[in-house]
Symmetry: C2
DNA sequence: ACGTTTGCTGAAAGCGCTTTCATAAGAAGA
DNA sequence: TCTTCTTATGAAAGCGCTTTCAGCAAACGT
């Protein structure tokens, strides 16, 4: 049915080994043999069988990625960047998502490991012990992203610093009562770290971020609006809000607008992520920029290097940076 | 090194065939044999080798998807939906993107075909003839999305109708001069169809959508803003704008706001897509809703059915629907 | 009681490729 | 000229699984 390597070999009048080499190590062949094989392959429309190659060589030229969800601007961008980088080296991306379920993540790891991926990208450092055991036992190159665990190779950002920068910015603006909307903290070490960073900054300034001023929401714009609504309905409402992700902050902008409150006059808002969109909303969103695309690029590069047994940096910490726009301003105490 | 099927077989005191059956067709085994094999597999931490399974069985339990980019709310959502549906049947998603390059798409198809995917999802009906030839020659289940070509199985929406609904809505509101921002039309049949639909509706109403009122932009919020700026800078500026994607329309909202123009008082704006975000921006965006997630779900279901040789509908046309919000209102002629 | 079916299991032949090892033919050195 | 390297190629042994095809019991039918 399908053209196989032996067909090409017969057509070109060479052995199967030679055809195989024409694909993988062309420099070993004489130029005329190579040309002949290539011509045959071309003419017959030969496409190597990946499964057979993977079985025989032990490499699948496939990298796995497991993210909470693809349906997020953040992970989508990181994966797009990964995919683009991987493609340049002939790798393909096998993706799975776990929707914030550790058990689903374990399943996904198992599925990807079974598919013979050459390396694996995961988000965050927190996971079921079983998953970690699986990963270690596999001996496969693994790169953690956003958060590292000190053991696996990682491409990270300082989430706590991101939270801190957001908080310190507001503190320096004179805000004393600050609220924060975060994603569900369970199985989300990025959000926990951002919250912890903000809280610490507040405490160092002699302020605090008490539980009533922190609301957990699902990671959507609607979640941001709802969280904002809860915070603004408090008796002693905050004068400034931090969104654990930009989407939350944008939700705050919308909710404030819907209530007839002016941002930044009546409420300051700061996000964390640095979505493209954040520069374009009104007012422009002050945010802590995270190099999402670079996380993806570097994760891919690191994985490729590890597969090739090249030395890699154990943990690459990418910088986050406060970008001040219109959504935050000095708080005038009454 | 790694535990293999024969290790499990030896440990359980059965043949390799029996272990294989324990995985793929457990109903063929006596319950005690099955239990014994499972216990051994569990204890040894056996994970089947996907490459070997794929080679021996001819099925990889992997579905390929090639999209223009992952970094788009639309495709990200569709892929997330696909992935979720596929995962339920034990399939994994192998993704590639082509960034609006037909040649890159061909490459991607080749790469995925080579990886032995069991089926392939593609976006749109327009592609290099070589790609189509490759697809046909492979004989693999293929599902086109958003647009069909009358040959391959497809899960589509009526893009022309979407454009028409947007235009007719504005016409009915009394707008006579309407502009449209579309993505680069080359290699994007979805945008072409939406434009054509809008144009036709206008012409049927005795109006027109002349070239100067159509601007092509890259598919980002910034593109939408830029397109809006161009249209508003026209001598005879339009009173209403259609965004070929919601992101464009949201860009229009921002640009209008930045210019001190009120939407919908000074300008009506309608999008196409129905992003979650569109319901939350201010003013709420009138848009033609597209069931993006369902496209992904159905593409996955269709592919799974095709792999199993179950009959499938040749083309599934999903409905689009106008959702009227605050961004559009009647035009008062001066 | 004797063929016949049914249920469960094993032997073994691949699936299409990679890769080691061996070999043959030149090139180079002595 | 004869040995010693190189260089280019082929033969063949798998990679770890699936899947006929057989075989052997036990259960069935008459």
């Amino acid at each position: 049915m399908r053209v196989k390597l032996s067909d090409v070999a017969r057509d070109a009048g060479v052995s199967a080994a030679t055809v195989s080499r024409a694909i993988a190590q062309p420099e070993l062949l004489s130029s005329e043999t190579l040309a002949r094989v290539r011509a045959s392959a071309q003419r017959l429309g030969y496409l190597p069988d990946g499964a057979a190659r993977a079985l025989a060589s032990g490499r699948s030229m496939t990298i796995g990625a497991i993210v909470p969800t693809l349906d997020s601007a953040i992970f989508a961008r990181a994966l797009q960047a990964m995919q683009a980088t991987l493609a340049q080296s002939g790798y393909l991306l096998l993706v799975a998502s776990h929707e914030a379920s550790p058990a689903a993540e374990t399943q996904a790891v198992r599925a990807l490991l079974g598919r013979g991926v050459d390396g694996l990208m995961l988000v965050g450092a927190e996971r079921a012990p079983e998953t970690t055991a699986l990963l270690r036992a596999s001996g496969l190159p693994v790169v953690l992203t956003w958060c590292g665990d000190g053991h696996f190779t990682a491409v990270t950002i300082d989430n706590a610093m991101a939270g801190r920068l957001a908080a310190e910015h507001l503190i320096s603006l004179g805000h004393r009562r600050i609220g924060m909307i975060v994603g569900h903290l369970q199985f989300n070490d990025r959000q926990r770290a951002r919250l912890a960073g903000a809280r610490l900054a507040l405490e160092e300034a002699g302020l605090s971020l008490p539980d009533p001023l922190v609301v957990e929401q699902s990671l959507t714009l609607a979640g941001g609006r709802a969280g904002c609504a809860m915070l603004l309905d408090l008796d002693d409402r905050p004068t400034a809000l931090i969104g654990g992700i930009d989407l939350f902050a944008i939700g705050c902008l919308e909710e404030a607008h819907a209530r007839g409150m002016a941002v930044p006059d009546d409420l300051s808002v700061v996000g964390i992520d640095g979505l493209d969109m954040s520069a374009h909303v009104s007012p422009g969103l002050t945010t802590v920029h995270v190099p999402t695309g670079r996380i993806g690029n570097l994760a891919a590069q690191t994985l490729i290097a590890m597969v090739a047994h090249r030395p890699v940096q154990q943990e690459t910490l990418l910088p986050v940076e406060l970008v001040v726009r219109r959504s935050s301003q000095a708080h005038i105490a009454l």
